[in-house]
Amino acid sequence: MYRIVDKIRLASNVVKMTFEAPLVARAIKPGQFIIIMVHEKGERIPLTVVEAEPDKGYITVVFQEVGKTTRLLGRKEIGDSIFAIMGPNGRPFPIEYYGDVVLVAGGVGVAEVVPIARGLKDANNSITTIIGARTKELLFFTDVLGSISNKLYITTDDGSLGIKGLVTVPLAEILNSKHIDMVMAVGPTIMMKAVSDLTKGYNVKTYVSLNPIMVDGTGMCGGCRVTVGGETKFVCVDGPEFDGHKVNFDELMMRQRFYIQEEKYSCKLLEEDNASKT
């Protein structure tokens, strides 16, 4: 069992949670993820680790309550435990000196990009960060990313904060104004696709961090397979970061929707159960 030692609600349905998982805390590197199970009959889902404190044995994740598992997790409180945490999984992000780097993040990707941003800063890269959300209430970690980045852009769909529009608006401006050595995008698949489509025209090396459905997370089931450069890759062991210009995003988005009906049904039962208890 893995104890929850901290929990903060970052937005209406976004939670930051810290677990006691000493073996993971000492081994995890930027870009890697864990597989969690909330309870014994639960699903195994991947979550990117956003912070590790090896001396305390803590790891922190940020998740959005969308499916049953993340909703159950969001209901857990400090002092509660969850059934399983396995990791680190996947390959670490290739932290090295690239030069002028742009990080683009949306959704919980805003949190997930933090360890990569820190690593790249420590490797002396110049970092520009663009974060996007639907509206300003859904934004978080702006201070953290602001302090790591040389320049931070904020975009909201409704214009409630920063630039009105998608993350690709400031990204296009930057790409037009100067030479960029590498772009890294983390967030909703559709956002990573848009970023990759844009950077392709400028021939800028672009990494994306993929988030398909997984079961075991160790390369055993292949449920997370994705086509990269015409070849089938397993995101859990070959990724999660890939060259965004080679990823077949349409296939990935299709595969992410495989169990959408079952997910809705599970959530409906959960809400009904919840309603009957209150």
């Binding site: 009959k41 160790t218 994705v226």
Partner: protein, 459 residues
């Protein structure tokens, strides 16, 4: 004098069994076991033992059955085999001990596997013999809790060593947990055998991926020796167009969703599984049979596509027969060349007809495409069950470990010694996909070699 035929084993009725995941083979009653045991000639120079990868004293345990000393018979088996309730169910005895039985020359061999299962089941919930040698100060890390890992953990614990058994998943058992369905190996049997290993003092540590959570060199700082039994858990895919369409599963994913994650009990369990009304399973081994029979139990019409003919099917005869009884259709001499989909879901397979040519490296006649002979098969789902390779996580993280062409760890087969001092390996990670009992045999040999190494320190 003609040999009396073996006592048949009762099976669950076929109409019932396709509706649930209850065990199909029901085991011998005491009376049936006694009749079967009396057929054993108690050869003075028994040949059956040679056919057993772990060297069970078969005539001795059968003699104890004849005397109705079932608990003693169980102890006799456990001298050599820590998991008899499992091997009694999943061993291909027809290719091993039973193939060597002298009666096989003149009639039906003794049903050794069924007798083993009878004895193991009879004593399953009795207190087990937990006799161990006096504790040593040696610590051993075992990686992977499948057949090899469980076996070597028990053997080393009996020798007095302290054993930590690391597992990547949340439950013990490896392929016994995620791969073999309940109707062949009920989960309570696995749990009980694992409990026995724990009672011997083995510490089970789940959710640890060696090579990721802890590196081999880190383990070597805390343990005197390491045994790698992480199995062949990486699925081989067809690599043909359309394989990533929705509804196309690797057998590993399909079976793990059911066996490990209990998706057939969704929504009580959170993991779902979704397959079409008609399912095609690609492959002809035990995993293909298991996949087909699981899909059948989820209510689908199932067709197995195999590229050779019936004679070459690598699955156990018993499992092929049961699959046929359960209404699984076989299309032989056919191989998929492309999957076609509609709105992202697979809906047909383009198949190539094959014919048999010369025997290949495996000794079986190799399938050769028949020129211009194609047909289309309508499907709602596909399960690809064409084999597995060793999982590369450990070897990738440990470059000093010498690996073969398919990622198998290279060892000295007598001892399981790898190219890295202090690290042994055995089971499917060495041999590629093979049988449970072969993995257990390798683990036993390695246990002896590790014990020697701990004191002699020779590599």
């Amino acid at each position: 004098m003609p040999v009396r035929p073996r006592v048949p084993m009762r099976e669950r009725d076929v109409n019932e069994r396709v509706t649930n995941f209850e065990e199909v083979a029901l085991g011998y009653s005491e009376e049936e076991a006694l009749i079967e045991a009396r057929r054993c000639l108690q050869c003075t120079k028994p040949t059956c033992i040679e056919g057993c990868p772990v060297g069970i004293d078969i005539p001795a345990f059968i003699a104890l059955i004849k005397e109705k000393k079932y608990s003693e018979a169980n102890r006799k088996i456990k001298e050599k085999n820590s998991l008899p309730a499992i091997t009694g169910r999943v061993c291909p005895q027809e290719d091993q001990c039973e193939a060597k039985c002298v009666l096989a020359k003149i009639g039906e061999p003794i049903a050794i596997g069924r007798l083993e299962r009878f004895v193991a089941d009879h004593s399953l919930y009795e207190p087990q013999d937990l006799t161990k040698k006096p504790p040593t100060d040696k610590r051993i890390a075992v990686v992977g809790s499948g057949p090899a890992g469980l076996t070597i953990s028990a053997e080393l614990a009996k020798l007095g060593h302290s054993v930590s058994l690391f597992e990547a998943l949340h439950l013990p058992g490896g392929v016994l947990a995620y791969g073999i369905p309940d109707f062949r190996l009920p989960k309570h049997i696995l749990r009980r055998e694992v409990e026995y290993v724990s009672q011997l003092g083995v510490e089970f540590i789940p959710n640890v991926v060696i090579g990721k959570t802890i590196l081999i060199d880190e383990l070597l700082r805390d343990f005197h020796a390491i045994f790698l039994g992480s199995g062949a858990g990486a699925p081989i895919l067809l690599n043909i167009p359309g394989e990533n369409l929705l509804g196309v599963y690797s057998a590993n994913e399909f079976l793990a969703r059911i066996n490990l994650m209990r998706a057939h009990h969704f929504p009580e369990y959170d993991t779902p599984v979704k397959i079409g009304k008609s399912v095609a399973v690609i492959g002809g081994g035990n995993v293909a049979m298991d996949s087909a029979r699981v899909a059948r139990r989820l209510g689908s019409e199932v067709t197995i596509l195999y590229r050779r003919s019936k004679e070459e099917l690598p699955a156990r005869l018993e499992e092929i027969k049961r699959a046929e009884e359960e209404g699984i259709r076989f299309i032989f001499l056919s191989a998929p060349v492309e999957f076609y989909g509609k709105d992202g879901w697979v809906d047909s397979i383009e198949c190539q007809e094959m014919e048999l040519g010369e025997p290949d490296a495996s000794g079986r006649r190799s399938p050769i495409p028949k020129k211009g002979a194609f047909f289309s098969l309508k499907v709602g789902s596909v399960i690809v069950a064409i084999g597995n390779r060793p999982n590369p996580i450990i070897s990738q993280a440990t470059p000093e470990l010498k690996v073969g062409r398919h990622g198998e760890i290279v060892v000295d087969l007598e001892t399981g010694k790898t190219s890295k001092v202090g690290v042994f390996a055995g089971g499917d990670i060495v041999s590629g996909s093979a049988t449970v009992i072969e993995a257990m045999g390798a683990a036993k040999r390695s246990a002896m070699a590790i014990d020697r190494y701990l004191y002699e320190k020779l590599w």
